[in-house]
Point group: C2
Chain length 512, copies 2
């Protein structure tokens, strides 16, 4: 089978070129022409780096999450939770004296180390696909974590996951094309597919507790009966899926499940846009946490890679039809607006040409800082994975704390709510066991007002649908995220307020 | 006259909304609903800042351009220029000992100073329009330099000028709309207008030495006869102009000229996209430089603002139809990918909604560093203008050095070339005085090969046309940029190689 996905690239993307007016003529040289070996350039509108006001940068780092962050509880003292075992939670205060020994990375104007980006280059115009050292890191990282199943792949630095997704949509979708989307999804993707002129059609999700997310049988039916059911629409050109720790439901597709979906992609000839913003944050099954003791389990990198991390669609792709979207937002920081895209070189070239139109690539200063922190402080791929494992420990503990506060609640014990325990990511689904024959969206909206009034903000599933009418009866859930909380207390209190609100709502006959 | 430019906003841009799935419901609250005064958020998929590996950043700065940059001449010693008065040029070497006293800006995780961005915010998700302190700086800066002539204007942080231009094109142009573009231009704009589906139509440039750029009489004719000459095209929706230090020609439109063009915009109801990447780098008329002595003149900020800086179209806009595109690329560094857009709030809102689609705003880390360097080191607008004046001095000197090396040449003395001395920016136009009745583009391409062979790279005008057929007879010039050179020697040597190449070309009967 061919690994050339050219036929999947949108006509608009394929028609773009990367020519620049400063390019040297590529043909028509007169007889005897020989370019000068050391030309001087009056061509580029590029300030010499001597004009840059920044001479060097020192980046001061922590060795573990929350090392220097003092837990500042936002809870009023009168409202103290009885189940809190520790006042300070996981954010152990480090005495100021020991901070003197924290690591630091110095970024200078010039360096000869090929793994690093210096400021003379990082602050200068650069290729839209990103700086070479950071591109090399992303290739090394993907080779270690999710090695594609073919040779002709590459990466491109994006301005974060949203940018990567918009560019993937542009590369694959023409006006009128159909993209399949999980019925509950990261709904900004609909802006990106809409910007390409494409039509998003929902794919049913199986919301039972041990689901892989997508309802496979429904997907098979949908594809097999496409022409009959959608005489006005072309067959799908792509599937957009958050396959690990799905947003909002939290489901993770197993490797076996992915193989089945991939076989459908080959059979029906559609591309797969795999969005994976936080899949590296794998989460063990719920175990009752010891409040104030964040450690849940420690594993080696090899264990993690072999047994814990779910393989990417890239690893089973034999036809170049998978585009994977990664981001540094959840593992480093969202304000970087930095991520990368992995895919077949032909798709990445199409994305590169679109990058020349929409933003000329990610901030070089940001690329420089992230690259040099990863290379110089974390010493490359495995050190970066060690950092990810530290993040993972903290997130595992946070997830279990939130579940604990829910499991201990009256609302849970009375069966008003149920939980989907995620295998990865940042999101827990709280299913609300509404009786049959109620208007699900109406009741969930009323319950949302109840929760806001008792002081907890959550995202209702009905806000994240592709087509509310299609999904209204399955919208009886909230997305809960344990990432923003400042400390243990806030997580526990959030769960308490949440379940208390649900309890009162049910006890009041599903009324506010 | 109304300052509401709503009718100029593209249908596509007007149809976008900024709703997000985490928004709290704006209507439908049940009776008795009162939001909790201190809600806890399980809603946002936002990592707590305690997960960020960076604790603080120290940015080490210089006090003037080239302060710490050792001049490294790339010239072979055998090829030393006779007209070089100094071996080291303008980049005075600073002894390492004095570098200890260079200024530095410390960026911490938390600050209460409203002018600064701390890392807890700078590394976090943020509004696509940019961080409040940097937005405030851009407003203060524009108020000081180019105060709009109406109240209802605002700014938006972009990912550099290209991003700002693409967003302005999207905000104003629908498929099939016409945008007028200077016939020689920053040709990547054609990608942006093309991405919006618009048709670019060239406006003639007057290439005589004291021109304002655009050929005003030709523009009047073009607009008055539009329906007759273009029965198949709608009347222009916008004019794209680089009004100060035009790229590539270097021309600057006077205030009086802008008033005349603006009156045409009102009469024919089109918007003006004013691209101004380096207009702050104003340049005095050529005076013979003293090689090795960069100082040409020193002026106060008030002098500069009152007498030197050409006013923006914003300053004469009474109808909200001007969108001004600025960038930090040329005044701070291109690798920031950072700029801003100034315009009517309705146009900026349209651009904001597009930003949610194409990149979710500029790097927050980069915004943090730039904002805090400007606020903390330069102490805001006037300190930043002082830095710009230092840049301006250096660029003035560079421009005069390049012109000097050309004026001293045989090619100039024999009348083979002519120069347009720019009033601002980075570009000098070298006109090649070809005889009539030659194929201009063919001869210029041949001459370009000659120049590459003698070791100088320049941009031929014919590479920067909107429509080569329209402009071919006026394409007898090269764009020269004195910004990238490492030192005086390189600038002088570039001019020497350039004029030597032209001389040989002419002496050889316009042959290679």
């Amino acid at each position: 089978m061919s690994t050339d996905p050219s036929h999947l690239i949108s006509k608009r993307a394929a028609s773009r070129s990367a020519l620049h007016f400063t390019n040297i003529p590529s043909s028509g040289a007169p007889k005897g022409f020989k370019p000068h070996p050391k030309p001087l350039a009056l061509s580029y509108g590029m300030p010499n780096h001597g004009f840059f006001p920044i001479d060097s940068i020192d980046v001061n780092l922590v060795e573990r999450p929350f090392q220097t962050t003092t837990a500042t509880s936002s809870l009023p003292q009168v409202d103290k939770l009885s189940l809190t075992g520790s006042e300070n939670g996981q954010q152990t205060k480090t005495p100021p004296s020991s901070l003197n020994t924290l690591p630091s990375v110095h970024i200078s104007r010039h360096t000869d180390d090929p793994k690093l980006i210096d400021l003379a280059r990082g602050l200068q115009y650069a290729n839209v696909e990103g700086h070479a050292p950071l591109l090399q890191f992303t290739k090394n990282f993907i080779t270690r974590t999710h090695k594609p199943n073919y040779e002709d792949w590459t990466t491109l630095i994006s301005n974060g996951a949203s940018d990567g997704l918009n560019k993937a949509a542009d590369a694959l979708l023409d006006p009128g094309d159909v993209v399949l989307v999980e019925e509950f999804t990261f709904s900004p993707f609909l802006r990106f597919s809409g910007n390409a002129g494409a039509i998003a059609v929902p794919v049913k999700i199986d919301l039972s507790n041990d689901s892989d997310g997508i309802d496979y049988d429904a997907l098979v039916q949908q594809l097999d009966n496409w022409e009959k059911d959608h005489p006005d629409l072309p067959k799908p050109k792509a599937l957009y899926t958050i396959a690990t720790g799905q947003n909002p439901t939290g489901f993770t597709q197993s490797l076996e499940f992915r193989k089945k979906v991939y076989a459908l992609a080959v059979k029906h000839d559609f591309a797969i846009i795999e969005d994976d913003p936080y899949g590296y944050l794998t989460l063990p099954k719920y175990r009752k946490p010891t409040v104030g003791e964040p450690k849940v389990d420690e594993i080696t990198i090899d264990d993690y890679l072999e047994n814990d991390l779910t393989p990417s669609y890239l690893e089973i792709d034999t036809t170049g039809r998978v585009v994977r979207i990664e981001t540094f937002s959840k593992l480093f920081a969202p304000g970087l607006r930095l991520g990368f895209v992995v895919g077949h070189t032909k798709v990445i070239t199409a994305i590169k040409n679109y990058s020349e139109v929409v933003n000329r690539g990610a901030s070089g200063l940001t690329q420089t800082i992230v690259n040099n922190v990863i290379q110089d402080n974390f010493n490359g791929v495995d050190g970066w994975l060690e950092w990810i494992l530290k993040m993972r420990l903290n997130y595992s503990y946070r997830k279990d704390l939130l579940l604990y506060s829910i499991f201990e609640s009256e609302a849970y014990k009375k069966g008003y709510v149920d939980i989907i325990d995620p295998k990865a990511g940042m999101f827990v689904t709280l299913k609300v066991n509404l009786p049959e024959n109620v208007n699900v969206v109406e009741k969930m909206k009323l319950l949302l007002f109840k929760l806001i009034s008792v002081g907890v903000l959550v995202v209702p599933g009905y806000n994240m649908t592709v087509d509310l009418e299609f999904s209204k009866d399955r919208s009886n859930f909230f997305r809960l995220c344990y990432a923003p909380a400042n400390n243990d207390d806030e997580i526990l209190e959030s769960g308490k307020r949440l379940t208390q609100g649900v309890y009162e709502f049910f006890e009041n006959g599903l009324e506010f």
